[in-house]
């Protein structure tokens, strides 16, 4: 069963149309990857799904409810939570406050216990709970961005380039975390520049090219496709 269904989605900024009718499905408890070149419209797609920009045509259905015209906070509270590109820390607020405000924003009833659980799951954050989030390293910020999203008890996560700008060792940690979260039953839509890793992990994947889906298939199958290898995995075709 699909937890997220997008049909013919058109969106953009001002007079510019970026997405020209994108359709995709995210199956429940699965991981779906979206890969595409810089400027293809990946972040724009997630922005439209989180209702940060209008959906001009088409529709989006999450967990059986139409969210095409919902507000951003309603989408998040319904359980579709985005970890945005660049992590967007609330830099002046403490690590703990970042978690608290996320739990409260999502309308959680067990915010205190959830914060404690996050510090247990992300032990590197615990000793830094009183520090401003802006003072954390890139890897710690990505952990906090995850933890913050998880405070909402999401049914599905939208992850926008979670490994961006991280050292290779931390990239591993981030991908382990994504796999772990899927194993817990959360559905994940993953946008990644690290196409090889994303495809290897993905159940299903889409290639977004200049605002349209150009290719789709099983993650492992796309990894073997020559046009993918050439365009997104940085290997020249023989």
């Amino acid at each position: 069963m699909a937890i997220l269904e997008v049909e013919g989605l058109v969106a953009g900024y001002g007079r510019i149309e970026v997405l020209h009718g994108v359709s995709l499905r995210l199956q429940e408890h699965s991981l779906c990857a979206i890969i595409g070149a810089n400027g293809a419209g990946k972040t724009t797609l997630l922005a439209a799904l989180s209702r940060l920009i209008p959906i001009r045509e088409g529709r989006a259905i999450f967990d059986g409810r139409e969210i095409t015209h919902a507000s951003s906070h309603a989408v998040a509270r319904a359980g579709l939570v985005q970890v945005p590109e660049g992590r967007r820390m609330l830099a002046g607020m403490s690590v703990e406050e970042n978690l608290l405000v996320a739990g409260e924003g999502a309308g959680g009833r067990t915010v205190g216990a959830d914060v404690a659980a996050m510090f247990e799951r992300f032990p590197t954050l615990a000793p830094r709970r009183a520090l401003p989030a802006g003072s954390l390293s890139g890897g710690e910020q990505q952990m906090l961005a995850f933890a913050r999203a998880l405070m909402a008890h999401p049914k599905a996560l939208l992850l926008d380039e979670p490994s961006m700008g991280l050292a290779p060792r931390l990239v591993e940690t981030v991908f382990d975390l994504i796999a772990e979260e899927r194993a817990r039953g959360t559905s994940i839509l993953l946008v990644e520049q690290n196409a090889r890793k994303a495809l290897a992990l993905a159940d299903h994947a889409y290639v977004l090219e200049r605002g349209s889906i150009s290719l789709e298939g099983k993650g492992a199958d796309l990894l073997g496709r020559e046009e993918i290898t050439a365009a997104y995995l940085g290997e020249a075709t023989p």
């Binding site: 939570v81 609330l90 406050e97 405000v101 924003g105 309308g107």
Partner: protein, 292 residues
């Protein structure tokens, strides 16, 4: 003499602080200057005055006038700012619409209360004075100071330690991140306007009581001072606004005592100018609201 002037500066500074906090809160959250803040300050004083005139006890009249000011702030946002926000109109256009809203409110006040200065009925106000050595302070001044400090204390608690305060700071810091976390941005902005406008209204009522004078011009007299205070304190910083307000209050009363009342504003603004030359970003930057 010096102690007496500093005490007077404290009373004045506390009221300036209430006014400036409201100003800076809205700037912190929306990055806009709400130039209708001073009109709400004035209208709240008039409403309190009329309620006392209708026979309400002073405390009840003040409380009702604060709620009125808060709701007026919410209405102001709905009419003058929210439609522009939806159209991503930037920060200059809302400045103009807030000036328009101020002119409308000023006109309504003139229509309802006329152009003359009003006084609170004298029976409601205590004229008792306390003496401590050469220092003499009015009971009313002390009550005003206590109310102002209590309101600042409550605000500080709300901003630091409640879900509402955290959501306001989150929206101030990054509206998109806050929305993605499930925070209702419009509701948070409305509550910010309520709090900011109620504080501005409190300042108007307290100044009206302190000088026992409520007039159409009272808003214009404090508007530039409030602006100077929040620039001095660092735009968007609540703590900075409080510090700036007490500096202005002290400088004003000292210059009246030791120089001349005709140089009061010139000296006060001169001192602020000097501080800003030394610290162009103000005493505390915008960060301070977020870190609260």
């Amino acid at each position: 003499m010096l102690v007496q002037q500093l005490a007077n500066g404290l009373f004045l500074g506390a009221v300036y602080a209430l006014f400036a906090i409201g100003y800076t809160l809205i700037f912190g959250v929306l990055d806009i200057l709400n130039l209708a803040h001073a009109a709400i300050f004035m209208l709240a004083a008039f409403v309190a005055l009329s309620l006392v005139g209708f026979g309400f006890p002073l405390v009840l009249a003040v409380a009702l006038a604060l709620v009125f000011a808060g709701l007026l702030g919410v209405l102001l946002d709905r009419i003058a700012f929210a439609p522009l926000r939806r159209r991503n109109a930037g920060t200059l256009v809302p400045l103009i619409s807030s000036i328009g809203a101020a002119i409308v409110m000023q006109g309504i006040a003139r229509g309802v209360w006329g152009p003359d200065e009003h006084r609170f009925p004298s029976n409601g106000l205590s004229t008792a004075e306390f003496h401590l050595g050469s220092l003499s302070v009015g009971a009313l001044d002390l009550i005003i100071l206590a109310v102002a400090l209590a309101l600042m204390g409550i605000l500080s608690y709300v901003m630091r330690s409640t879900a509402l305060g955290r959501s306001i700071r989150a929206v101030a810091e990054d509206r998109v991140a806050a929305a993605l976390l499930g925070i209702d941005i419009e509701r948070t902005i409305a509550l910010t306007f309520f709090i900011a406008s109620a504080l501005g209204g409190a300042a108007g009522i307290l100044i009206g009581l302190q000088y026992n004078s409520v007039s159409l011009e009272m808003g214009a007299r404090i508007e530039l001072k409030g602006l100077a205070i929040i620039i001095l304190g660092g735009m968007g910083s609540v703590t900075g606004a409080v510090i700036g307000a007490f500096i202005l209050g002290a400088v004003e009363t000292l210059s009246v005592a030791y120089v001349s009342s005709s140089y009061r504003d010139a000296i006060a603004f001169g001192v602020m100018f000097l501080i800003l030359v030394l610290r162009p970003a103000g005493l505390l930057g915008k960060r301070a609201l977020r870190a609260a």
